[in-house]
Symmetry: C2
Subunit: 218 residues, 2 copies
């Protein structure tokens, strides 16, 4: 009888389970959240459905998270860590040249948003506060610091009186990148614009850098 009941539900899970306990439920819930958010937007995510998708009861998530918000924050946290890693890897300490590395960071930004929309949405569109939540503040600042460092290197050889603060420049680039993602990268709302998101970000960054005096006329 035991077997009949307890194994019955378990065998319906797609992944082979190592034991009676899920073993990896925390991450499975994060993954489920990602796929739900990707499909149905931040408001389409519910704890109950994430649990369902992970193959556990609605009460199970409470063994790993305080509640709905806590899970969402964990997703954003993981997202920022991956984001920071990707940006840093793209920058590669400014090699081979600071300029080419800077462009690579821009492309990595867009690539992240396109490849991991669930993370991106949880990070920037789910309503979680990056500042009021200490765990998120740290990881988000670290990701953004890659941009600021790159901006600093980029302007190192500019005359001091023509050199705006690196933080300001990185915020400009961040704003442009985020704007391109939101408006042109995911179907909405600009629809299928005459230019791809990649082209827009690349050309926009190019014009901006020319304005900074970092590259000459084309």
């Amino acid at each position: 009888m035991r077997f009949a009941i307890t194994d019955g539900g378990r065998n319906q899970l797609s992944k082979a389970r190592k034991s009676y306990h899920h073993g990896n439920l925390k991450q499975a819930l994060v993954d489920a959240t990602l796929s739900l958010i990707t499909e149905k937007g931040p408001q389409g995510f519910t704890l109950a459905e994430a649990a369902r998708q992970a193959g556990v009861s609605a009460a199970a998530p409470y063994r790993h998270f305080k509640g709905r918000d806590d899970l969402l924050i964990e997703v954003a946290r993981q997202g920022f860590i991956l984001f920071g890693d990707l940006l840093e890897h793209a920058y590669n300490n400014g090699k081979p040249t600071v300029l080419s590395a800077f462009y690579k960071v821009g492309r990595a930004y867009l690539a992240f948003a396109k490849r991991y929309p669930g993370y991106y949405i949880a990070m920037f569109e789910s309503g979680v506060s990056l500042t009021s939540n200490p765990q998120l503040a740290t990881v988000s600042e670290r990701a953004m610091s890659v941009l600021t460092l790159a901006a600093q290197h980029l302007m190192a050889h500019l005359p001091a009186d023509q050199r705006p603060p690196a933080v300001m420049v990185s915020h400009h680039i961040w704003a442009m990148s985020h704007g391109v993602v939101e408006l042109f990268a995911r179907g909405a709302p600009g629809g299928r614009a005459p230019f791809s998101a990649e082209d827009l970000l690349e050309s926009g960054t190019g014009i901006y850098l020319r304005g900074l005096g970092i590259i000459e006329k084309p």
Copy 2:
């Protein structure tokens, strides 16, 4: 008896009502939606609460809207009309100079987002599709066309071989403006950055326009 019952609920309304019927329920629901969205984000808005705030039963909105989404779309539609009007007024046909008018449009963009956050959220963050909805497509395109026209005028005297498409330029500016709004204008998520949203947009636009060759070095 009639009076006692029918007038009882009615007198609780703050605004004096001209008649038994609300008379202005459609707009009252739009206004309620705006305040709900402003306070609690796009997912914080419910038809039931909008009705409550307007002082009518939960069934009443169905006399004016097909449902929740229909109301949200109407809010966005009104927002785009106002947005377009404000941008056009700010541009003022490029007077006194095309350049100063262009800056004014940028400031108007930001001012709109700050002054009417409910509209801005309904337009850009509520998940309504600007393209798949014909009524929204028209009004949003009209608002954006102000930017494109301004970009066109701005580049009119640029040598043809150094002149990127006006639509591309307006998309760059739109992306930067939207990014600044989302990241720095409403508390979230960049928190209180070292620079104000206004300064960021103004300086970012300035550097970009210099890159276009429209203004000289400072």
